[in-house]
Subunit: 265 residues, 3 copies
Amino acid sequence: MKGSPIILTTDFGLSDEYVGVLKGVILSINPHATIIDLSHGIPPQATGRAAEVLCKNYRYFPAGSIHVCVVDPGVGTERRIVVVRGCNQFFIGPDNGVFSRILETDQAAEVYELTNSDWFLEDISTTFHGRDIMAPAAARLSLGASINEVGPLISTDSCVTTTTTAPLVSETGIRGEISAIDRFGNLITNIEEGILIDFGLSPRFAIRIKSQLLQLHQGSYGHLPDNQPAAIINSSSMLEICVKNGNAAAILEVGIGERVVVKTK
Amino acid sequence: MKGSPIILTTDFGLSDEYVGVLKGVILSINPHATIIDLSHGIPPQATGRAAEVLCKNYRYFPAGSIHVCVVDPGVGTERRIVVVRGCNQFFIGPDNGVFSRILETDQAAEVYELTNSDWFLEDISTTFHGRDIMAPAAARLSLGASINEVGPLISTDSCVTTTTTAPLVSETGIRGEISAIDRFGNLITNIEEGILIDFGLSPRFAIRIKSQLLQLHQGSYGHLPDNQPAAIINSSSMLEICVKNGNAAAILEVGIGERVVVKTK
Amino acid sequence: MKGSPIILTTDFGLSDEYVGVLKGVILSINPHATIIDLSHGIPPQATGRAAEVLCKNYRYFPAGSIHVCVVDPGVGTERRIVVVRGCNQFFIGPDNGVFSRILETDQAAEVYELTNSDWFLEDISTTFHGRDIMAPAAARLSLGASINEVGPLISTDSCVTTTTTAPLVSETGIRGEISAIDRFGNLITNIEEGILIDFGLSPRFAIRIKSQLLQLHQGSYGHLPDNQPAAIINSSSMLEICVKNGNAAAILEVGIGERVVVKTK
């Protein structure tokens, strides 16, 4: 028995030593911990993106997994640190919206404020609570500590929510935007498949980005025409604009925030 | 007993969450799996490079290791997914050439088509079979499932081969190219030490790249002259052009595909 | 019992397969090893930076941890490979200064030359001793091999020291420089909090970088004024110049080596 795995999501990148230090702190408390990186590529301070990544992917981790999310621009201020028990997993991080999509998803989720200073490292910096407070708490939970030791149960309504831009839905269609660009240059929108289904998901939908009008394909990358942008539903059930064997972001010269309009009739 | 390690090689990069999700899927099936990253820096869709990296490095992993290679531009099309048992290890990935160097190396290797849908995730996307099909299969094999459960044995001759450019060999020498550039700016050619030995590997060989004529050194980086390009045999037994404490790619202004000629007399 | 964890610090980056190969070699010898990445983002050949990262962060790893540091521009030359037992941990790497801060920190540290060729891989390359010599030694130590099997005890005085630039201290202040820039664009100086305390650490200190005069703040990022550079003590107890929710390196157009002056009166 090695305990539940600890899953890390941060905006630290991998060129510095910050992620390694989180792991050292965890191993110092639970030498047998299993530690997995979900992503350290969240853009700096992008709490909305972190919320999205956690919400879209927690289901691929074992029940009982302990997530640590360090996207924490308010570190050292009066912002709270919380532990969410929801979606059959645990989520440790700042109360700044990174867990708001999880709280939306599981209405029965509970939130505890992490105040048990017996768990903290001895010296608490003002700028790295991931190391000094969150990683130690994850290690304790992975050793089987009870959620009741974390600190007081608090109201989920009191938690900060992210300001992710939701798409605007009108009678004739949907106006969304590019919310992420992956390594392949795929342009991931903030438009969920569910909304498209409400409109009767159809290959006749016209998707406009910049001056391009694209069709919605229902197959995979390999089935797309060569060298031209197309729209698909991606593996996270989001509308995505891509180019077969090419980089849509580079070809369309598009960045995060670019408007995407779906004309449904 | 934690089972055989699972080794990941992809073109996903590390800025997105795709690699983390593969690991979550594996841990959900085998909570005690040991998971190692070989490389996620394969250039997008570069099946030939993946084939090279696997072939050059599998020998450094334990017998029984289970490789998952997700360089899969044809995901969601009719391309097969295969499990190769060869070189005393297992290799799971698309049948698109990523394992062709392994099949060349071990003529007794066996290939199975991965068709056992009992192993797949419940919902299969059209764009992420690494997550939905390959990672689960790796987890099953690491738990001790038999290769016979994978699916039917297929002919190795039926497998797709990579289109890696082989060097051209003539009476007076070898014409190859730069096939990879590492973080240090070292220029790795597609010319193996073995070919040079066939020609009588000698410090009198003249190596030409762009307008530069270089000597073949038989020592290490530290023994090279300062600040000037030189050719050595690298730690993977390939001809490599480097600059001591410098970046050969930047100094020579060379990219992948640049021609390299070895005059052997 | 999985043995002591093995902690990797290199200048390999993560786009190549070199780090993965180190892990494969370790697992081939100790299949149950716990392997953690501290950092692979040390700039190429930057032994001084490696020394700093190890010294600042070893304390976050368990007693008995086995560090492998492969920042090794002299690989294949006559430079020694050493194992340091100090600070309650082990450090394996080239004798080129990467451990000199550890040796300063623990005056009772012992240094052994790694000469036990029974531990090495069978074929030793001239350019990748991390793989062929250091990783195997780490795996052996993690299995419980005695430090006495490493090779002869050598004098710590004989070890190479790094040439890290120390700040210049005068009666009226301190002249240091930027020694690292992290993913957030935070500018980390070579000036330790301890020196500032010797001068009576005060918010009246004036910190000059380029033409900017900054104040020393004693809070955290979140408490800083918006959009303007400020100086703080960071989580590693170093003077750091940062911009709240912004990138100080980009805003100030500053690189590594830029001068920083602290006027203390």
